[in-house]
């Protein structure tokens, strides 16, 4: 919980709020009440803490990446969320929401997924807490990510291929919202990022903000001072808000969010909602999104499935407007270069999502060094591991090697 927003009606400045059918308001109100109670309930916090520690494997380590640092011209520390159970920061959110589902007396969760990471994490939490789990996934994605479909089914979840609209992540969210409107009495919508109608952005943030709380203490222990900058990738924005939030009051710590620039923001083929989008409403919140002149959502493009979403959580829109955080796009090519660099210098295969944060850190390092007149310290949220991306990376570098 924090006093850094949102306000009572769920707004971060002019962003956020609730742009949903009236039929969902009662459920959102119930969720808001229960989540606020849970955040101050010792029993809930003890159980959440126990699962995070014994099951998910947190606190994740903060690792000084010495060889990478030598190349970057900065002291780079990696917050190793890739080592968590299920391989990403997402396990924190799903455990929190699944516990909350049980607390509300609901027996069924639904979730959306793009490439399948949040779907697998949701299916994992559902198995652990004995909840029925239905995952909506774009039909095209179910074919491309057949292994993740198999994982979800092994964990006992039902995967529903979505055949409407553009058959991508945003349509999977639409279908999940339709299910939720219909089955709201029995069902919790376990949204995968810090977006959507209030209280989701604040609630998801509070479930993942341990990332920043841990990192802040770990960097103080390791270096005796706060970092000069914190870097994270931003799609919907949960890993970024998770690591940013504890640092927001530390005004000397620069916060950098790196959006998916795809082929380049100027090409129109990207997923950079803040740097390349405009103000609007999508999936229940007022925020920045990719849209045409008539307010129709434009499909996003990124090599990273986890960042391939045409909007962004409202708290990021607000942090952008207040100037507290800086958002920049990172292209597919920049991200893949950073991906390979981390593989070769540290023996860590990062998620392509997290590679955007690495690439951004490499970009800001010389500027920061010049500004500070010394070697800067940067904490990078390594939000997920890259096992899932081996095929994509193989194709990418195969193509490049062929051209060399």
């Amino acid at each position: 919980m924090s006093d850094l927003g949102p306000n009572e009606t769920g707004h971060f400045g002019r962003y956020g709020g609730r742009f949903v059918p009236e039929a969902l308001i009662a459920a959102l109100d119930q969720l808001d009440v229960e989540y606020r109670k849970a955040m101050t309930d010792d029993e809930f916090q003890a159980e959440f803490g126990r699962l995070l520690r014994d099951y998910a494997g947190t606190p994740s380590m903060l690792y000084f990446a010495e060889r990478l640092s030598a190349q970057a011209g900065a002291r780079i520390f990696l917050k190793r969320e890739d080592l968590n159970h299920t391989g990403a920061h997402k396990v924190r959110n799903v455990l929190g929401q699944a516990l909350l589902t049980r607390r509300m007396g609901k027996k069924r969760i639904i979730a959306e997924t793009g490439a399948g990471q949040h779907g697998v994490a949701s299916a994992t939490a559902a198995a652990l807490l004995d909840l029925e789990c239905v995952v909506y996934m774009g039909e095209e994605d179910t074919r491309r990510q057949a292994l993740n479909v198999a994982r979800m089914e092994l964990l006992g979840a039902t995967v529903v291929p979505v055949q409407t609209g553009s058959r991508t992540l945003k349509d999977a969210i639409n279908e999940a919202l339709r299910d939720w409107v219909t089955n709201v009495d029995s069902t919790h919508y376990l949204l995968g990022t810090a977006a959507g109608p209030h209280p989701f952005p604040a609630m998801v943030r509070d479930f993942v903000r341990g990332i920043g709380v841990e990192a802040r203490q770990q960097i103080l222990d390791a270096t005796g001072s706060l970092p000069d900058a914190v870097a994270a990738c931003v799609g919907g924005g949960s890993n970024a808000i998770g690591i940013f939030h504890a640092f927001v009051p530390d005004t000397d710590v620069r916060l950098y969010g790196f959006e998916a620039g795809g082929d380049g923001v100027e090409t129109g083929r990207h997923a950079a909602s803040i740097t390349g989008g405009g103000l609007g409403v999508l999936h229940g919140a007022k925020t920045y999104l990719l849209q045409d002149e008539d307010g129709q959502t434009i499909e996003s493009h990124s090599i990273s499935a986890g960042l391939d979403y045409p909007a962004v959580g409202p708290e990021h829109a607000w942090l952008h407007d207040t100037g507290r955080a800086t958002y920049e796009p990172v292209t597919d090519a920049e991200a893949m270069k950073a991906f390979r660099l981390l593989c070769r210098t540290e023996g860590i295969i990062p998620a392509i999502e997290s590679s955007h944060a690495l690439a951004g850190a490499l970009r800001i390092a010389p500027t920061l060094a010049a500004e500070l007149g010394r070697t800067p310290t940067i904490v990078v949220n390594l939000s997920g591991r890259g096992d899932k991306d081996v095929e994509t990376a193989g194709q990418w570098f195969g193509v490049l090697d062929g051209e060399e």
Binding site: P21, A23, A26, A27, N174, T182, V184, D185, G278, Q291
Partner: protein, 253 residues
Amino acid sequence: MLVGYLPAGFPTVDGGIAAIRAMVEAGVDVVEVGFPYSDPVMDGPVIQRAAEAALAGGVRAADVLRTVEAVADAGASILVMSYWNPIERYGVAAFARDLAAAGGAGLITPDLIPDEADEWIAASDEHGLDRVFLVAPSSTDERVRMTTAACRGFVYASSVMGVTGARDQTSSAAPVLVDRVRRLSADPALPVAVGLGVRDGAQAAEVASFADGVIVGSALVGCLLGAPDLDAGLSALRTLTADLAGGVTRTSS
């Protein structure tokens, strides 16, 4: 009161205009002109398909307003039904101005609650437009009071929990919700219209027995979706509308 929904731009802009005129001639009292949107979370498969086709055909905001203008003199009250982002993008004040200028009576907003509607309430007041918000079986008494107080024209009771076109034959939620709305509304004259997946005259008569308005969408859109050509679609649309209007009149008289 029979309320009929058709999306603008389906099957074409002119075809959509012809369809609305046919529907009005056959007995619809109020028209909801749908603003096709890329992410219609409240809509079931039939309306989604039509909206997708309209968008694929290139329908624009100006086409929605042109549709309103072209049917404004047909003899029914013409409202636009739109998800919020297209209105937000157009500019709330500008849309209210242009909708009023086109002869539109107001706007139905399925994903805008009065809590978020300050700008729209001001703009609709300025241009004398109706604003139709939704109530649901899960709405608390306090929210029903607040929402009906913000409505003008009528209130839309989405009486099945679910998307458009869904129908639960055994649902008793609709009469209960209508009764609650009437009891809680500060304005006893505010009509209550019910959307309940009505498909024929008999069902329309049943809903008209307890509600002021019967809203039909998916069944009407289905006439156009299922037809081999526009003429056949218009013919099916006239037949169904007359059947629905007969059902509503039968009960109301």
